[in-house]
């Protein structure tokens, strides 16, 4: 019998309604069609979660999926995905998490875990190699994320157990609650934590001791050594090693397209307080790495003396720093670190959390909401104490936090100003203002999970080519980047590995691990297949061109100052070109002919 190199061999299916646990053999032919991770998760969600499923009902699923290189020595192969229908957007959603959870799942003998149904009382899943049990968790319900991780390790008597948990944010069904692992690594976006909370599943604990079969171990070792050497001497990798993703702050701010004050501004002089260099100088005291990585971009940070006492966390990385910081007009470490800590402990996405607070601040400053709505909290831009107070309220779903817990679009709609929510399909923006890199406008508009930068982060190419203000050629750039990123995510690679691994090199790793012989053209077809499956899930839910849009602010309000002054996004032309290149009709719906060519039945 042919050995399935790179695969752990089984997918675990757990039904919390009736308590059944089944192991299904991993099907290599399906893996070859979607690689794994994000791609396979999308395919399974499309087939297993019917249209109009309630995202917080028992029929929604959480599909955790690793990639074929995950858990091997392939550098940065540590990203596990969770795929689900989002309670925030009602679209397809996938979220990636680094750390050690994905490799541990493979070591336990599983390529994925599918969580179905809803438990009758709080529980957690304990995967101990072949022994899989559903454990009671009434005693854990109500604990924050960090307490839960500690309690489960203590209960199981093994500090090496890897644990994915929800906090009170997930229990309270905050629509952008996240799932956390390794204390500070998150499946961050679109509300996977709320889905887990709706199933009364507090945690998944994993311990694995098996090995993963490799097709060509010597070739893999050689490729890995070469990649480590490239990364060790790569200036960009060195910047990220020193400052984490916050090496981006200074450049994006100086180019005038960084989220400031709910995107009313694209730059701020005060951002100089919180650049990557300032972070290293002021608050960093250590480094943290995910499995199999020599970039080591995670930073331990602390403020030793503050009104909150000693605040010690990992991070914040760039998106958290900017969306909790610059986007709320808060430019000091004390409040940014404390707000990050609060959201982490409640298990709530810092990006959507920060965006929700920024929206409330703009509404407060404009008199749309008043002290009566905020219970007296002075929600001015720049009020760091108010940021921290509202972060707590969101996690607790109390006061104004109960409104913001449903997402910025729901809150802005309730307040009669939906146009002030900086979102696409209900999901909040990353920190790159699309007026300063037009391709990002198309990326956000067409992303299958709402405004998400990593679906196609084109701004680096746009800056390097000095054409960031032009819409010309951006449809092709976005399309190609979307396909490329779908492959990276499906391999389970960290996106920072792009410094050293172009597509050709990535395929060499896949070949060494699995024995699959894929050329670049075939790989890009897989990327296209994944994007189309994701799109078809949303089409089935009723999404179309009308939803592929941007907030009025980006389309009609030019940035007032800075290096991107005067810019707006002309979306329609890019959208027309993009649909044509994708082989979709002008309503953004994939044609039967295109789907047929990609081997997708629907």
């Amino acid at each position: 019998m042919e050995k399935n190199y790179g695969l752990a061999g089984n997918i675990l299916r757990v039904n919390l309604t009736n308590g059944t646990i089944e192991k299904e053999p991993s099907n290599p032919s399906v893996f070859k069609k979607f690689i794994g991770g994000r791609g396979l998760g999308a395919w399974m969600l499309y087939h297993e979660v019917p249209a109009k499923t309630d995202p917080l009902g028992p029929d929604n699923k959480l599909i955790f999926m690793a990639g074929p290189t995950e858990g091997t020595i392939t550098p940065g192969a540590n990203k596990i995905t969770v795929t689900f229908k989002s309670p925030l957007t009602n679209t397809y959603a996938t979220s990636l998490c680094g750390g050690h959870l994905g490799p541990e799942l493979k070591f336990a003998g599983y390529d994925g875990v599918v969580i179905e149904g809803k438990a009758s009382e709080p529980c957690y899943l304990w995967i101990d190699d072949d022994k899989v049990r559903i454990m009671p968790a009434k005693h854990l319900w109500g604990k924050n994320t960090h307490e839960t991780e500690d309690a489960i390790r203590k209960e199981l008597g093994d500090i090496n157990v890897k644990v994915a948990v929800i906090g009170k944010g997930g229990e309270n069904l905050v629509k952008y609650a996240c799932i956390q692992t390794d204390y500070h690594r998150e499946f961050g976006r679109q509300g996977s934590g709320a889905v887990m909370g709706s199933k009364l599943l507090k945690a998944i604990a994993i311990r694995g001791t098996k090995s993963i079969p490799i097709a060509e171990p010597e070739k893999l070792a050689q490729l890995t050594l070469e990649t480590y050497q490239i990364l060790a001497n790569h200036p960009k990798a060195n910047a990220r090693k020193k400052m984490g993703t916050n090496e981006l702050v200074d450049g994006i701010n100086s180019l005038g397209f960084m989220a400031n004050k709910n995107f009313t501004e694209g730059t701020s002089l005060s951002a100089a307080n919180i650049t990557g260099a300032a972070m290293v100088r002021d608050v960093v005291f250590g480094d943290v790495s995910c499995y199999g990585c020599n970039i080591v971009c995670g930073k331990n940070t602390q403020v030793l003396s503050s009104k909150y006492g000693k605040v010690r966390i990992e991070g914040p990385e760039f998106e958290t720093l900017t969306l909790l910081g610059t986007n709320t007009g808060v430019y000091d470490w004390e409040h940014i670190l404390r707000a990050t800590q609060i959201f982490d402990e409640y298990g709530v996405d810092t990006m959507s959390g920060g965006s929700a607070v920024a929206l409330a601040m703009e509404c407060y400053e404009k008199g749309i909401i008043t002290d009566e709505d905020t219970d007296g909290i002075k929600l001015h831009f720049g009020n760091g104490e108010a940021l921290c107070q509202v972060a707590e309220l969101i996690g607790q779903r109390k006061g104004i936090g109960a409104i913001l817990a449903d997402g910025s679009l729901a809150a802005a709609t309730k307040w009669g100003v939906p146009e002030l929510a900086m979102q696409v399909k209900g999901s909040d923006f990353a920190a790159y203002d699309p007026r300063g890199a037009k391709g990002m406008g198309l990326t956000y508009a067409t992303s299958p999970k709402g405004a998400h930068h990593m679906i196609a982060p084109t701004f680096g190419v746009e800056i390097a080519q000095n054409n960031r203000f032009s819409e010309e050629g951006k449809a092709a750039l976005v399309r190609e980047t979307q396909f490329f990123m779908a492959i990276v995510d499906s391999m389970a690679l960290c996106s920072s590995m792009r410094f050293a691994l172009d597509l050709g090199k990535q395929l060499q790793f896949i070949s060494a691990v699995t024995g699959w012989d894929l050329n670049e053209q075939e790989a890009m077809v897989i990327g296209e297949r994944i994007l189309n499956v994701e799109r078809m899930f949303n089409v089935r839910e009723g999404f179309s061109r009308k939803d592929d849009t941007l907030p009025k602010r980006f389309l009609e309000e030019p940035l007032k100052e800075g290096s991107s002054q005067g810019q707006v996004v002309n979306l329609e032309k890019m959208l027309n070109e993009y649909y044509e290149l994708m082989g979709w009709n002008q309503e953004g719906i994939p044609t039967a002919e295109r789907l047929g060519k990609l081997g997708i039945c629907y």
Partner: protein
């Protein structure tokens, strides 16, 4: 003559932030980077008075130079 140079703080040189570079004469971009101790591999884009330039282009008195890294989203 002087040239104002703005270096992104993510570029790991020993010169970060804004600086005024004093030169006796006009200077090539490549030479300026060398004098500032910046490895050209760190550079994604050099702008002179807001316009993209190549390493072989020449910078003159009063120019404002912006040195930016490669950007990868994260």
């Amino acid at each position: 003559m002087h040239i104002t140079v703005k270096i992104s703080s993510s570029i790991l040189s020993n010169r970060q932030g804004d600086c005024i570079y004093l030169a006796e004469d006009s200077i090539k971009v490549e030479e300026l980077l060398q004098k500032l101790g910046i490895d050209y591999r760190e550079i994604g884009l050099v702008l002179v008075d807001g316009k993209k330039v190549d390493l072989s282009d020449i910078i003159y008195h009063g120019n404002e130079v912006q040195i930016l890294p490669w950007f990868y989203g994260g």
